[in-house]
């Protein structure tokens, strides 16, 4: 088997096309759930490092719309839309998210399932994402975003150096 095949074999067996991420947060699940369903909270954390959300609208009910404009540190705006499919407070949230191109057409649709489990005041959050639709532009789109946040990390590093340097 060639090295190339070995890599593909790993990809096949670990089912990497279904994204699953688990994180433990030091907060009760009511609060973590609220961070996902209250725009004032969500606008503070949604998106990569250094991004802001000048538009963040959530119509939290089944069939309700999500509209978020993420703004990268370099000024590029990434609009996305979505729809809530299921809301079970405070344990489960299912929504479709779509990244939009400059004409407002979806480049990829993802079905996101978020579960919140609490244990001794900490919340284990599991995100499962399954791609429903993806165009050829989709990887480019995410790559562009990555470039944006790598830049912001560099800048943050500079800023910290500056602060430390002054003291």
């Amino acid at each position: 088997m060639s090295a190339n095949n070995a890599r593909v074999s790993n990809t096949v067996e670990s089912a990497e096309w279904d994204l699953v991420i688990t994180r433990v947060f030091d907060a009760p699940r009511e609060q973590v759930f609220r961070a996902w369903t209250d725009t004032r909270h969500m606008a503070q954390w949604w998106g990569p490092k250094g991004f802001t959300n000048p538009v963040c609208e959530l119509d939290v009910r089944v069939g309700g719309a999500i509209r978020i404009h993420m703004r990268a540190p370099n000024g590029v705006v990434y609009p996305m839309s979505g729809v809530f499919e299921e809301i079970t407070e405070p344990e489960r949230l299912v929504f479709v998210s779509s990244a939009l191109d400059e004409n407002g057409n979806s480049m990829f649709d993802v079905l996101n399932t978020v579960t919140f489990a609490e244990q001794r005041g900490k919340t284990t959050l599991t995100l499962q994402a399954r791609v429903i639709k993806a165009t050829a532009q989709a990887p480019q789109y995410l790559k562009g975003m990555e470039a944006g946040w790598s830049q912001s990390l560099d800048r943050l590093g500079d800023l910290l150096d500056g602060i430390v340097g002054r003291h």
């Binding site: 890599r7 096949v12 994204l19 030091d26 907060a27 998106g47 639709k133 989709a138």
Partner: protein
């Protein structure tokens, strides 16, 4: 028109097709060999193979008799790359959510302390 990447994701959404790909990752195989682990008719397996072939995930040999199936790496690598980028997006967001929740906790403690302070002052 369906996009190539969409077609790939669609083909991967089925557990039987994923199992077929996992088998092919170990080397090429005939349709009969691929069908063996599944309790499925040959036409059913052929249907799955057609979906995989259309998505560019497998190629079939031209040998008339057993036409071996081979895994095609390209589309799978595109998918793995896409998933990796998307994972980065969420890891970064979750770092921020973590920071934000800590900040809320700090604020909450501070507010409680202030309230206690005010109550004490009123009593005194």
């Amino acid at each position: 028109m369906t996009d190539r990447l969409s077609e790939t994701f669609g083909a991967l959404a089925d557990p039987t097709r994923r199992a077929i790909l996992a088998r092919l990752a170990a080397g090429e195989a005939s349709v009969t060999e691929l069908a063996a682990p599944f309790e499925m008719s040959m036409p059913a397996i052929s249907k799955h193979l057609k979906v995989l072939e259309r998505a560019g995930l497998i190629a079939r040999g031209r040998e008339a008799q057993w036409r071996p199936c081979r895994l095609q790496a390209g589309p799978l690598q595109d998918v793995a790359g896409w998933v990796e980028h998307y994972r980065q997006f969420w890891e970064q967001s979750f770092d921020r959510l973590d920071d934000y929740l800590r900040e809320l906790k700090k604020q909450d403690l501070k507010n409680k302390k202030e309230k206690r302070h005010v109550r004490k002052q009123r009593k005194g």
